[in-house]
């Protein structure tokens, strides 16, 4: 049994998660800006160039940054070793993803094929490089964590997402023939949102709830089963497109029902938690779960795709990770400084607790801004002329507050680090 994962030395430098998370918050700001600037066009249809730009700013700009950044941090614990040359590799992944997302969004914004192609190649390349690095780390360590299957399958789902995405980009350039584009888009976003984001996000929450709130652990076996089932159904759904078998399209509502069931399990697990406090992270998680239910209701109702998108992308995919970040970043700040002390051979100084880095008050303010912005965006999906610009303004404000909270955490971390160096 390899046990290297227990080493403190293996935690990647704290600047890595900060870099990824700060960039993610800037992309959220970009979403707000696009909403303000293109208020009259964004909510025309989900196919509008601006809606496509926003979708990719959220999925690649926010989600891919947060999820790769978090995985790089988590891998020493999950797999027993960090990705190879962690500092350099993560710098390359970060820059490629950053540049790729910007170009892709600009490409959609200006309907510029060359920008779209370059952006898709760069961001797709960043994700493939990340997956390759994770594979090397897994092979090297030889150890398997309880979560390896659910996280592994979740991350593998990004491969068809990227492949279909690139295929459609080539189709737009006339290099390959794409038959039914809207249906292929549905396959692309199902793999991306349900396969990749959905399963990785839910696996993460299932893993973290017992740590944060002392809840009963969900057995890895049943979690793996649900994730594998979701992947299988996604494959069937893809076959429905490629082989034109309409009956297989039923897989999609089944997957959604499975996610609702998993949300219910999460909700129950939170409700029966031993630790009866309600903190900001919990507010974010509850709101995320409620948004999933609202997205499902809007989807069943069936006449407003944009409303579904707002609840899914904004309500679930952004809200839940932000809630987790508000626990993870303060803990990492404390953990790194505490480890520094251990290394110095003394832990007697007055090191503040994790709440020093992001206070409850600041996180709660951001929560209120964020939720109001999402609600306004939902209103804009129904009444664009009234709410589109206002929702954009509030969303930009919320993202700036998020950026501020992360920056303050970094500055407070640096100040403590300096104080420790002086004390020595």
């Amino acid at each position: 049994m390899k046990t290297t994962g227990l080493s403190l030395e293996q935690a990647p430098p704290i600047v890595i998660p900060f870099k990824f998370f700060l960039t993610a918050s800037l992309f959220v700001f970009a979403v707000g800006l696009v909403l303000v600037v293109g208020a009259d066009k964004v909510f025309l249809s989900r196919w509008s160039p601006l809606a496509l730009a926003i979708t990719h700013l959220v999925t690649l700009g926010f989600l891919a940054q947060v999820m790769t950044g978090a995985m790089i941090q988590l891998l020493p614990v999950l797999a027993g070793s960090p990705i190879p040359a962690v500092v350099t590799t993560s710098r390359i992944i970060h820059l490629m993803l950053l540049g790729g997302t910007l170009l892709l969004a600009l490409g959609f914004f200006h309907t510029d094929q060359l920008l779209i192609e370059t952006g898709a190649t760069l961001s797709g390349g960043a994700i493939m490089l990340f997956l390759a690095a994770v594979m090397v780390s897994l092979i090297r360590s030889g150890r398997r964590h309880d979560n390896a299957i659910s996280f592994g399958l979740g991350w593998l789902a990004i491969i068809p997402t990227v492949a279909i995405g690139i295929y459609m980009v080539l189709g737009l350039g006339g290099l390959v023939a794409v038959g039914d584009m809207p249906r292929l888009v549905a396959v692309h976003l199902s793999w991306g949102l349900l396969g990749w984001v959905g399963t990785v996000l839910f696996s993460t929450v299932f893993q973290l709830l017992p740590i944060f709130y002392i809840t009963d652990e969900i057995s890895p076996g049943s979690r793996d089963f649900y994730v594998a089932l979701i992947m299988l159904l996604l494959m069937l759904y893809s076959l429905a497109y490629f082989w034109n078998i309409e009956s297989l399209e039923i897989s999609l509502p089944i997957i959604l029902a499975l996610f609702l069931f998993l949300s219910f399990k999460l909700f129950q697990s939170i409700r029966s938690r031993r630790r009866k406090i309600v903190d900001v992270t919990l507010l974010f998680l509850w709101s995320g779960l409620a948004s999933l239910l609202l997205a499902a209701l809007a989807w069943i109702h069936g006449d407003n795709d944009l409303l579904v998108a707002v609840f899914l992308l904004g309500g679930v995919c952004m809200t839940m990770p932000i809630g987790i970040i508000y626990k993870v970043i303060p803990f990492l700040c404390w953990f790194h400084l505490q480890s520094l002390q251990v290394k110095q051979g003394r832990i007697s100084s007055r090191l503040p607790s994790m709440k020093h880095y992001i206070s409850d008050k600041d996180a709660k303010r951001h929560y209120l801004l964020h939720i109001t912005a999402i609600l306004l965006m939902a209103a804009a999906a129904m009444m664009p002329t009234l709410f589109a610009r206002l929702s954009g303004l509030l969303f930009s404000l919320a993202s700036l507050y998020f950026l501020r909270n992360l920056l303050f955490a970094l500055l407070r971390y640096r100040a403590q680090q300096k104080a420790l160096a002086v004390e020595q």
């Binding site: 049994m1 290297t4 994962g5 227990l6 740590i211 944060f212 002392i214 903190d279 090191l351 607790s353």
Partner: protein, 145 residues
């Protein structure tokens, strides 16, 4: 026969329960009760550390050199938790809910991620390398009750 993992995990859960009661008292400003529960919590944590540091770790280290790295990390985290507990005690003396809540939160995440490593890696390793220690540990717990 109880395995090492059984006894030690059971003790983790016991410490969790004491932690929850203590946190509840702090959140509700029941300071004298919080003081008492905090002492009770720290005593049981120290007892758990003692069994690991004086009984389990030395035996495991003797049996397999592979355990040295993980044990060192566990010891470092024990030191971190002891430090947090002492900070918590002083924040309780000042009856500061904000300050105490910060240490309580930090202590919980530190404890839980520490327990996960022990229950997932170290205890199974010990059960494989030194299964006989399971009896001694179960005995140590039954004597302390």
């Amino acid at each position: 026969m109880k395995t090492i993992n059984d006894s030690m995990t059971q003790d983790h859960r016991r410490c969790d329960e004491l932690f929850i009661d203590m946190e509840q008292a702090i959140m509700q400003h029941r300071w004298s009760e919080a003081d008492r529960l905090c002492r009770e919590f720290i005593d049981s944590m120290e007892h758990h550390f003692k069994i690991e540091e004086e009984l389990l770790f030395p035996v495991l280290l003797k049996a397999t050199a592979e355990a040295r790295g993980p044990i060192n990390v566990m010891l470092a985290e024990h030191a971190q938790m002891r430090h947090l507990m002492s900070q918590l005690v002083s924040s309780l003396e000042n009856m500061s809910r904000t300050l105490s809540a910060g240490y309580v939160d930090t202590l919980l995440v530190t404890m839980q991620q520490h327990n996960m490593k022990e229950e997932g890696i170290l205890y199974p390793m010990a059960d494989k390398a030194v299964p006989a220690a399971g009896d001694a540990i179960a005995k140590a717990y039954s004597e302390s009750v």
